[in-house]
Symmetry: C2
């Protein structure tokens, strides 16, 4: 059995950790040592995660994102699998890899490549199927950021206002003097850490409050998302440095829900799923008060994620209809201030409106989620790649050295 | 505000308990006194139930029943609402009621009437919408019973075998000497009570084991459905009297899952949802081991429930394709032995294969679920009625005196 090492630990490799082979949740009932349940608290533990991310709704309460009645929009196929799988590229450590091997090396659950709007490559691994929604994790943020920017464009929201203008509940919190724009761009100073491994981190407390991590016996902390957010204090200044923290997205989405009177799932349905002609319903995790988790709670089918990428590539136009204002998509592509971007692992990038912007030769911008979720939009290659994965390591550090050159080489190939 | 009395208690009536008016789960976040959450343990408490039954997935883990790619099958419309709403009938207490008033009096969330396969009446109330799956409760049993009977017909299952032939785990339990047929027909003697109000009842223990009722602090009972079922002991004899108990359905469905290697949701997809061309995905509640609750865990859209009724009315034929063996549907219509049927509230009925059989002038047979769920198939009137409701009282005793004459008068009207 193959293994790979990350941070000094050995993990089964992409092939050896195939969840079908490992037998998770098979049988009636599944054997005790092959069960995955929310109560066990280890649903994101490798290699269970290879099953969990395709079955989120079986582990927690969710709300549907209805696709509407329009029927799926056509995604024509122009298969080029043989050429794409045979591509080779040099990863950041100087090693030459084949495209198809790299899919296993990044623990890919599914990947779809669109070129000029047509599917040139589509493949599923493990337990993922084309109709099955997979966890988007923080790719969710880019959906939420795009909706928020559209409301700013329409004048429904004013991104120069500070958060308490919309949410008086947050007056005494870190966001008391943060503008909506700063929140949308993650330019806030928060006493909160986004560390998925540390049980004492801000993100762990946030997920416990939302009921999305098991609570210890005797837990007496915040009971819901909206109880938790007011407890986050300021640390440092707003406006100076990108500091990626999921709670900013939750605050932004809370503003949107408060002002529009629509839930995140309703807005996704009305503004994206139905007009785009998505082919499957998506869904969003909810907290114990029914608040929907815009920081990372969306699950979608791979093709529907691809459709969203294609919409952004076309600057909001979908078959002649302007679904998202062109300026919103254009602003994402233009990006934020690279001088305020501190993450060395994504050198040269900036962050804008809940998107990661590469400023590379393809003008690529990305939605990214933990454990390898990726929507890579490369306008200059007329390419969109949607990838779901279940990588053992949450952060991108483990897969970026493969993923980024892989996407760039694919874009160069398709650009011709 | 209007009220109605059941069992000496006053309840808001159907109009006054409209969940939109009462404001459940509205706002970001909903006010504390307007929240409904699983942890509160009161999701089926009236009037919260009027919201809950249209939002089950937001309260608990569920697995999807995929509709497939075929697109929805046509349900033509031949609207006859004015005539139907104006119908009047005499209920069992001798009171004359109008059809449309009776919808409120039975706390209807949605109703669809098919005549000769066409929609002649369709209406939604409160928070239910046509695309939104609603709790089917024990209507689920009739789906499961029909699938099981089809497997018996195909020789995959032998209904003369005793349960331990398929499930050795149940050798020492009540089902140790029960045949699959006896289980399918609820002809078992079990030390288990189906009382939804009593916290010490068998059904309460079953739901706690499945994680579908909150567990008290320090709970050390069975952790899953399949841990619970072996603890049910025999009481009395098998084969003598219909004794309606949800655990029989769970045993039946467990046999089906074990033998076919397919989960209940997969079987519903493959055998019903996809071939029928259902228009929305359904879903099924799951227990902590991922077992799917065939005793009452299905949620479906109203039209898709109507399609299933129409399939049974046509004896398994759907647009020229035999989806369920004709003999399975015919056997349901023929029914069981009325001499073994003990329920005075449904005088003249029998029970067969997880269906309630009226033996009335319309040859009607019914799928029934707590709080007013109903699928009423009346072959001699070429009529199918699917109704979702959220009645304050779980058992049919409170609404049968209205529902049964209402359905009969509607059938007589459509028969002409």
């Amino acid at each position: 059995m193959g293994t790979l090492e990350f941070g000094g630990q050995q993990y089964l490799d992409g092939r050896a950790s195939d969840p079908r082979e490992l037998g998770w949740m098979r049988g009636a009932p599944p054997p005790a040592d092959k069960r995955i349940s929310f109560d066990s608290g280890r649903v994101l533990e490798f290699p269970k995660i290879r099953w969990s991310l395709s079955h989120v709704r079986e582990l927690a309460p969710t709300v549907g994102v209805w696709r509407g009645r329009g029927g799926p929009s056509a995604l024509e196929c122009n298969d080029n699998a043989a050429a794409i799988e045979g591509l080779s590229f040099v990863d950041m450590s100087g090693r030459t890899r084949r495209f198809d091997d790299a899919l296993y090396d990044t623990y890919t659950d599914g990947i779809i490549v669109l070129h000029r709007g047509r599917i040139v490559y589509e493949r599923y691994f493990g337990v993922l199927e084309s109709h099955l929604p997979h966890a988007c994790h923080s790719v969710t943020k880019s959906y939420a950021g795009t909706l928020t920017a559209a409301f700013v464009h329409e004048g429904v929201l004013d991104d120069r206002k500070t958060i308490p203008h919309y949410l008086p509940e947050l007056r005494g919190s870190a966001w008391g003097d943060a503008t909506l724009r700063q929140v949308m761009d993650m330019l806030t100073g928060l006493a909160y850490t986004e560390d998925y491994v540390d049980e004492h981190s801000g993100v762990a407390a946030y997920l416990r409050a939302c009921g999305r991590r098991p609570r210890p016996v005797g837990y007496d902390g915040p009971q819901t998302l909206c109880d938790f957010l007011p407890t986050v204090n300021k640390e440092g200044a707003h406006g100076e440095t990108v500091s990626y923290k999921s709670v900013n997205t939750e605050v932004m989405a809370w503003v949107m829900a408060r002002v529009t009177g629509r839930s995140f799932a309703q807005l996704l349905h009305e503004r994206i799923w139905a007009p785009l002609g998505c082919e499957e319903d998506g869904y969003v995790s909810v907290d114990p008060a029914g608040m929907q988790m815009a920081g990372g709670g969306l699950c979608a089918s791979l093709r529907d994620l691809g459709r969203f990428g294609e919409l952004m590539r076309r600057e909001g136009d979908w078959q002649g209809k302007q679904i998202i204002p062109a300026s919103v998509a254009h602003e994402v592509r233009t990006g934020g201030d690279p001088a305020k971007f501190p993450y060395a692992g994504l050198a040269g990038y900036s962050y804008r409106g809940m998107w990661w912007v590469s400023h590379n030769e393809l003008d690529a911008f990305e939605a990214r989620g933990i454990h390898g979720q990726l929507l890579y939009v490369a306008p200059k290659a007329e390419m969109v790649v949607a990838r779901f994965a279940s990588h053992p390591v949450a952060t991108g550090a483990a897969h970026n050295p493969i993923t980024l050159p892989q996407m760039l080489s694919l874009g160069r190939f398709l650009r011709g």
